[in-house]
Symmetry: D2
Subunit: 342 residues, 4 copies
């Protein structure tokens, strides 16, 4: 029987991406969509690309009867998310796409996000949603915290290497490039077409991007010691896509072998042949991530490149993959759509 | 049992788009892919976005055993297509995506395309592939000729109006804007990113675009008299999408009503409320076309706008829709993917 | 001696474009720049591309001493502009880039803009700023009203034809495509990169765009009778550029000859050979407009295409051209920069 | 008296950019333009954005009389350039924009470019064209070798630091992003709009890009020991612009101070305040480069960001700056155009 699904915050890009993916999912039915300021509108008015679908009207969260809902995606802004989730029925399965439950340490959360956490009980039970590495916990979790899109990209490239001790932990540089949709539908000057197109620049330079909180938490946990990476995101004139170019010290062939072995059976992580380089072009709109490893001309240095779609594998696709596991469905259900190219 | 499908010319954009769509089709299996110059390569080498798929290697057409193939898509250049199709087994069902079998009149073909037609027998049996208007013939056809992408867009806006006598037949202007993928993967200077992006211009101005051959044929047949429209395509800095803005003389409300009635039960043609305007943004990557009608401030004049994705509804999606009908499958199978936005 | 120039509203795109152009003007010096909300900031903070220039700080209008200013550009929003200009010293020469003084008829202004005009005295003295057609009046004007960018584009294509009686006045269709900068730096959802890029759509369909007020006024005045055109603008995924494709009934060769003769001595209006078509690509960042005429396959119909940069020839470049005339300088001073391509 | 200037290879992007810049240069006149395959055409046919200019027709190099030419820009492909330059009159001043005379060591040239150098005499006399660092030699040079656009960007960020011993020479990583025009007007599949737009990827990963030859030569010469950097270029969906994000070990404040001091009097190198980050958006179409320095959260590490326009400061603008020096003109003549934004 089809699972009943609610999406809170359906008027943002990750909400719309969830609707897109679920619209052809064989075992899910959308039964509630919320959007506080756009309550009363049809989804097709807010996102005309979804107008062919027979969807519930947008409502306020308070209007939703969760008693028949099997799983709820929370695509709300951080801070709002913790307030809302704290009040949801305890029996309800939840996949949260905000930053609110990614960090297990309340002090770390406050340090990175600037406000004290107000849903500590839920924070403690939340499972970090990087599917390939938390699969078993996710299957039995009530609340899964979707990862940051940049954080997912960097971790796919690095986790198995840190685990295997294949690289120098003090010399990791993640130079990452992302499309504009990662910033959401917010009305900001630098996201205007006239300002964002035909140019590129780094931002949050020097170690100030919040996704570093996830890198610090996860990499340190794996290594059993503090690991601090350098991380510079760049805003690129494209809508979707993240590509991370990662500089490490270690044997390039071992780096490639380690990742290849780790991801051999993963349905969505595609390892390229040694020396090949992925592009965001080839992951657009899909749940696939492509990874490549190249040797530098300087001995003992390798470059790892990971590309994925920030809205799909980096966010809503990941969320759906987790939801599939939580609901006992096929992990890949609704997620095998090939990328859109060109 | 799954149908066995071949694609000839799989290294172009329409070929790749067919593979993308068929990769999640419930009742089709790709058993042969041809690409003369790239024979021997894996599809994933030519189109890395398809690298996760388990696909047959690219071969030359001569290497394909068609005996077990249920249906063959021909995504070859025009002229080549007629030569190849003339030699295919007579029992083989074929959907041709080239221009070779769109025009029923051999002289008209030669006039528009500059070379005499060399597969006259096949030309005679071919059914014009505008699904919504040739559905019954397509179901029993052996050879279906996919329409021009611009030709499809204009016809969706105009056929029911000509049929109903709702507009002045001598005063139809189709001002159409298309993305670059309509020109295919050809290496032409004006298709380079540096030349095509950040600017726009009309081309084939004054009635020289070949898709006019289709407009002339179809509109004249419906009207029972010669109908000649004005048609100006424009090349826009985007990859996918066609939007046609069409100026007609007739009662705007009747125009809207006529189209609404005609498309009431169509699964892929979405009629917007009177006065609303569609955008290519909301059809990208999908088989949906959106149509809107607005009254001009001058009495008795209406503007019809039709938007669709040239590679999907304008070409490969249309081809798959036709193939579904020819094979007795559900017409919408594999085609309900929602558009990708943003 | 260098002329002292003020710009009111320097934090918008047209203001910044004026600064760009004036920065290499041989006979002008910027002595005051206003921006109400950004007063106190350096221009280089608001527009880092101008950071190499030695410019006055942004101030509020009230802080400017106009006694030594030779000419003031007003790049304020419409409505605000009339309030500000009404209070400026009567001796001050002004080029207004807003819509406030384009329409000579106060009722027409109110009909198109929705508010009564509050600076009727200035409205009466204002000269319409389409340089090539109001050159003599502009030379002696105190207040010149810059035209709408779309209005300029359409008029370059049509004025000489209406004047010469070369086309049917009741059958003029202007299908126009514009880049996003025409909408200014306003924070609107549809102007976000994620919403505007990779797609296109018409807007203000059916005769509701305010620039129609200018077409009506100017064309009717030339014709000596009411002329109403059809006009549909489209928003394109590019920053700069307007291309208008205009459908008229008349002899194509006469249309071409009429325009060629009219613009023979114009420094910025480039007439292409008969049958050639311009592109916005080739006018970007410059004060040049390119015009082409093509015969339609239907006898007695012609297509005129006009391309220009909305921020330069369509707005700030035009304003500077007018200012040159008003100050007795060389008309082309500071404006001969070649377009930027690619 | 105006200097007589020839451009060889005027049909490529750098040739066209030279024409654009020289068209408003106060002391230069274009007297010859060559383009072998397009000889006989007007420049305005090949580059319609230059159609308003009164330019000499394109001719073959053999047709040019160099006796009255003061300086010749060579914008030919590498390898062709050395063959042509070897045959030019010995008295002719030359600025070469190809890679042929950048490397002083013939073996290094052959190693990076794959063919033996055939103009060794000219190679010996050539001065490396990074103006700010070779200014005095350039003033008296006969032949100046324009730098690689990526090589210029990296050197602006690093030369003063290496000179000052401010950073660890064994730990320099240059992660660079470039627009498509850097690859020229070549017809390559990956440069098509449909392939290049809406996505990004690294290329020449691992230390294989030819501009490394310049980094090796220059940095080693300054340091007095071998210096090898890591360098990864990325192709971005934009036409113009390079931004290099450079990771170094050294005191961030000293890094910023060293660069600030070095560039204090440079007319085209703009140093941003400590912690600020430049963008290619703000250098487009200009000869300015913007530089910023930020401290990383890890002590002793700094990130330097340098942005410039690859076709202007990275190539044709640099060439003109050098030509000004060689001809005894004002160094900044014709080069003070402000960037185009948006």
């Amino acid at each position: 029987m089809s699972k009943s699904i609610a999406i809170l915050g359906a008027s943002g890009y990750t909400g719309a991406e969830l609707v897109r993916l679920i619209s052809t999912h064989p075992d899910m039915t959308l039964t509630a969509l919320s959007a506080e300021r756009k309550a009363g509108l049809a989804m097709g008015d807010v996102f005309p690309h979804l107008r062919h679908l027979d969807l519930p009207k947008l409502v306020k969260i308070d209007e939703i009867d969760f008693s028949d809902v099997d799983l709820c995606f929370c695509a709300l802004p951080h801070k709002t998310s913790q307030d809302v989730i704290a009040k949801l029925p305890e029996s309800l399965k939840i996949v949260d796409l905000s930053a609110d439950f990614r960090l297990r340490d309340a002090a770390a959360y406050e340090a990175w996000y600037g406000n004290p956490h107000t849903a500590l009980a839920q924070q403690q039970e939340a499972v970090y949603g990087l599917t390939e590495f938390y699969r078993e916990q996710i299957k039995t979790a009530r609340l899964v915290a979707g990862t940051g899109c940049n954080a997912a990209t960097g971790q796919y490239a690095l986790r198995p290497l840190i685990e295997a001790g294949a690289i120098d932990l003090d010399e990791i540089i993640i130079d990452l490039k992302t499309g504009v949709s990662g910033a959401g539908r917010a009305l900001k000057e630098n996201l205007l077409h006239a300002e964002a197109s035909e140019g590129a620049a780094p931002y949050a330079v020097g170690g100030t991007h919040r996704h570093l909180g996830e890198f610090d938490q996860e990499f340190s946990a794996i290594a059993g010691r503090e690991v601090k990476v350098q991380f510079t995101p760049h805003l690129l004139p494209m809508n979707r896509g993240i590509v991370a170019t990662i500089y490490v010290k270690g044997d390039p062939q071992i780096v490639h072998d380690t990742l290849s072995t780790a991801y051999e059976d993963e349905p969505f992580l595609e390892m390229l042949p040694f020396g090949s380089v992925p592009s965001t072009h080839h992951t657009r709109g899909s749940n696939f991530a492509h990874l490549g490893v190249t040797a530098d001309r300087i001995d003992g240095r390798a470059i790892i490149v990971c590309a994925l779609d920030n809205l799909t594998k980096g966010s809503s696709g990941q969320a759906l993959q987790n939801a599939n596991l939580m609901l006992g469905l096929e992990e890949t259900a609704g997620l095998m759509l090939a990328p859109l190219f060109p």
